[in-house]
């Protein structure tokens, strides 16, 4: 079929205003937040009903059109970059919170609901949805589930996967598949929910998501510890966990990041500090005070030069302001910001920090490191200018070496950003030949014409 005929068919199911095919519109769906080349789709569709969404998937399959689902397009591994001549299905027309159930503690949402909006709506009902990826102000829950997004609270509360109770999704024929449900326990059939989480749009298209909610913590306490060396801070992280304290959040940033944040926000951070550690404990007041005291004494033992405990909400906000500013501050240093998320077992953090330092020197690159120290998920952030081709080659080599180091330590390519196209060629190294074959078999059984976000995760498409 000609593009024009297909546009007509999409218009018939999704409405004339919800189908875009002019070059100047298509060009705005050719990228996401990953540092990768643009790819122009042929058509963009924005369904506003479940029926339309299912029909769009079916039409793509019938016409062998590669389909890429897009929420807010904040993906950091290229998962929402379409294929040439493909179809982008935008989910922000399906953005209703369908139910917040305060008795059975779950929420049902459409895939286009913005993460922070759900979190706020849930909070207004006295409940808590913990996953808080950095892009939560714009990211969609559909995208969060498709990527298994993490966030600052991963250490204690887990990641998106831990909150997905059930899903409805469309298969390539437009049939509605249901998995999981509204009950805490549910063992009916294969755990397709588990399969769909982090599937990056390669196995089905989400229609409705059921998410677990929990009661919010009654009390919080935040603190900031200063270390003269990154090594000490990472050892303090390991010691905190080893002492059976699990803070809600346990973050750190290196000297380069501290200086960037300070020049950006004048927050009064110590410029000569080798590392800054930010901790928040939450729970019942008694337990929080006990944990906080433990953290404080461990930090001192590990050589912290100063510790500041937030006495009220304003001081707590100040502590987190510095962390929230980290990426912005680094991004302002150079035009191109490559945000990596290779993750290692917690005990390997000191080793990973040393490896990053060596890599930065070896390739003569500026790398600021901050991140979720408590769960081993670091964000080495390479600051560069992609237009400088010589430096860019060194950046690519450095990224590859970061992956190799992380894998050698028993870690993973990606803690929370996904594989997409950016990391799929390293997948076999992390897993095995057989894993790739097994995954590709699943993919070809579910999607025989390979139309669902082809090339992502398992490769096989340029």
């Amino acid at each position: 079929m000609q593009v024009k005929t297909i546009v007509k068919a999409f218009e018939a199911v999704a409405g004339v205003d919800n189908v875009l095919s002019e070059p100047a519109d298509l060009a705005t769906y050719a990228y996401d937040a990953a540092v990768l080349d643009k790819v122009m789709p042929a058509i963009v569709v924005r369904p506003t009903s479940s029926e339309a969404l299912g029909q769009v998937v079916r039409l793509c399959n019938e016409n062998r059109l590669p389909l890429t689902v897009r929420g807010a397009g904040t993906n950091l591994s290229g998962g929402t970059i379409p294929l040439p001549g493909g179809v982008v299905v935008v989910t922000n027309g399906l953005a209703r919170i369908l139910e917040i159930n305060t008795e059975d503690l779950y929420a049902r949402v459409q895939p286009g609901v913005v993460t922070a909006k759900l979190a706020a709506a849930v909070e207004a009902q006295g409940l808590f949805y913990p996953p808080d990826p950095g892009s939560q102000a714009v990211s969609t829950l559909g995208g969060n589930v498709a990527e298994n997004a993490g966030g600052l609270r991963g250490l204690k509360y887990g990641v998106t996967r831990d909150y997905v109770m059930g899903l409805d999704f469309f298969d390539v024929d437009g049939g509605l598949v249901k998995t999981g449900g509204r009950t805490v326990k549910c063992v009916s059939g294969y755990n397709l929910t588990g399969l769909m989480v982090a599937s990056e749009g390669t196995l089905g298209v989400f229609n409705e998501i059921t998410l677990k909610l929990i009661p919010p913590p009654a009390y919080r306490k935040a603190m900031m510890a200063v270390f003269s060396e990154m090594g000490q801070a990472s050892e303090a992280v390991a010691a905190i966990i080893a002492n059976r304290v699990v803070p809600a959040t346990l973050e750190f940033m290196d000297n380069f990041t501290i200086r960037a944040v300070e020049s950006y926000s004048q927050a009064g951070l110590p410029l000569d500090a080798g590392a800054l550690m930010l901790v928040e404990c939450d729970g019942y007041p008694g337990q929080v005070e006990e944990d906080a005291a433990k953290v404080e004494s461990i930090c001192k033992e590990m050589g912290a030069t100063s510790i500041r405990v937030a006495r009220d909400d304003a001081e707590r906000d100040k502590v987190w302001e510095a962390r929230r500013a980290a990426l912005s501050a680094l991004a302002k240093v150079k035009p191109t910001t490559v945000l990596e998320d290779a993750t290692v077992p917690r005990s390997k953090i000191p080793a990973m920090i040393r490896a990053l330092d060596a890599i930065s020197k070896k390739y003569d690159l500026t790398i600021g490191t901050f991140g979720h120290a408590g769960d081993g998920n670091l964000h080495p952030t390479i600051l560069t200018d992609r237009r400088n081709t010589q430096e860019w080659e060194r950046v690519e080599a450095a990224i590859e070496e970061i992956f190799e180091e992380a894998l050698a330590m028993g870690g993973t390519l990606s803690g929370e950003h996904g594989i997409g196209t950016a990391k799929c060629r390293f997948m076999e190294k992390e897993t095995s030949r057989a894993t790739m074959v097994y995954s590709r078999r699943i993919k070809s059984a579910m999607d025989p014409h390979n139309i669902l976000n082809p090339g992502k995760i398992i490769g096989g498409q340029s």
């Binding site: 070059p23 060009a27 705005t28 397009g73 922070a116 102000a137 912005s328 302002k332």
Partner: protein
């Protein structure tokens, strides 16, 4: 070189600013237009990608990009929220100038900018005639708000509820002023602005009254021209520079410490756009920079320079809610001062609305070109105003005052729209 290659070469002037965008998409959270449409081409990241596309010669013709670039309120919410600090407004205004230079100005805009706006005396005259004849075509819509609407179907007015042209514009009431510094020891130049002159002369009068009350001398030259924002945001740099040149000449005649305006848009244009868009003329640029550096928003002058502070709250105070004009809060970072001024107005007390800094949807010519979307953005603001239960909403920009009046009047809300300076001036009068 083909024409698209030539355009690409022109766009390269913006390259260093364009590459700063890391495509994180955080602008989606704050863009008032994107909140209504959900379209990527409506949000800053999308528009920046389109300009990058022009530079990379991705398009066969620039019209599609140009249209999408112009569909923007220029409210600056994206820039204020941008993690990488992309200078969005500067890029957009410069890109509009490049595209208009390349494609030419549409005939209607050409007639208005070059034939009318560029000639301040003629523009004033036409406004006076308009004020006389407008009643033939319009009828009152809301007594409280002071709006009018079309008497019969009119393609120009549509279903707008607008504030009509004042019967006597301010320049007829008070053509010029040159008073000495009084008790404050300060003297300011007063730039009136088109809307305060032709639609809200009461606001211009209130500004003069307040300054005089505080012993501030005023230099107000006659024959002031538009600040140039309508022309420059349509890419007409020539008319813009002509207006800047004219205004600088008028204001050169007096001596004063600083220049004030009661219009958020005029202030931000003088402070930011005058220096930004006059770089091709060294002398003009230097003069514009000099004036810009000593230009103040009226609230900022009254509170930060004169030291006016909020008074004690009274039991019987009338609650007033406040809308942050984008050009004040996001461009100039002025947002505490108007609130202080409201609380300094005897008998009035500030009551915050939800999302006070969410754009009202006016956006100057955006409202003319995209009235239905502008109206939807206005409705969100109206709902927030209404929820406060206040009978008065104040805002520091006459352009926002127009939009709030339209939104409230159409919904039948009896809520007055005022400028904080008007409230303050009123409270100074003996009771």
């Amino acid at each position: 070189m083909t024409r698209m290659q030539e355009l690409s070469r022109m766009m390269k002037a913006l390259e260093d600013q364009l590459v700063v965008c890391m495509k994180c998409g955080m602008c989606q959270a704050v863009c008032p237009l994107f909140a209504e449409t959900g379209r990527e081409a409506d949000v800053a990241r999308g528009k920046l990608a389109l300009l990058d596309g022009l530079m990379q010669q991705m398009f066969e013709d620039p019209e599609g990009v140009s249209q999408r670039l112009n569909k923007c309120l220029l409210c600056g919410s994206c820039a204020a929220n941008c993690p990488s600090g992309v200078n969005v407004l500067e890029i957009f205004i410069k890109a509009r100038a490049i595209l208009t230079g390349y494609q030419g100005l549409p005939p209607a805009k050409k007639a208005i900018f070059k034939g009318l706006l560029a000639h301040p005396a003629l523009f004033d005259k036409l406004g006076e005639w308009g004020a006389k004849f407008q009643k033939i075509f319009t009828k009152p819509a809301s007594d409280v708000i002071g709006t009018s609407c079309a008497r019969f179907m009119s393609p120009l007015i549509g279903d707008r509820h607008f504030r009509p042209l004042a019967e006597t514009p301010f320049h007829k009431m008070m053509p010029s002023l040159d008073t000495r510094a009084g008790a404050s020891g300060r003297k300011v130049a007063f730039y009136v602005g088109c809307l305060a002159d032709k639609i809200f002369p009461h606001l211009a009068q209130a500004t003069v009254d307040v300054l005089t009350h505080h012993g501030v001398g005023i230099f107000m030259p006659e024959n002031q021209a538009c600040c140039g924002i309508p022309a420059v945001s349509s890419g007409d740099t020539e008319t813009f520079q002509r207006l800047v040149r004219h205004n600088i000449r008028q204001f050169k005649a007096g001596e004063y410490d600083c220049l004030v305006t009661a219009c958020a848009t005029c202030t931000s244009t003088i402070k930011e756009v005058w220096p930004m868009m006059t770089a091709t003329d060294d002398r003009l640029h230097a003069e514009a920079r000099q004036l810009a550096d000593r230009t103040f928003d009226i609230h900022q002058f009254l509170v930060s320079e004169l030291g006016i502070t909020g008074g004690e709250a009274g039991e019987a105070d009338t609650p007033v809610t406040y809308h942050d004009p984008c050009h004040l809060k996001k461009s100039l970072k002025v947002w505490t001062e108007p609130r202080t001024l409201i609380n300094a107005s005897r008998g009035y007390r500030l009551k915050e609305m939800a999302e006070p800094d969410w754009c009202c949807g006016m956006g100057g010519s955006f409202n003319l070109q995209y009235y239905p979307i502008s109206g939807r953005i206005g409705e969100r603001k109206r709902d927030h105003i209404r929820s406060t239960g206040c009978r008065i909403v104040a805002t520091g920009c006459p352009a926002c005052m127009l939009q709030l009046s339209d939104s409230l009047s159409k919904a039948g809300d009896a809520i007055q729209v005022k400028h904080p300076v008007e409230l303050y001036a009123e409270s100074l009068k003996p009771t």
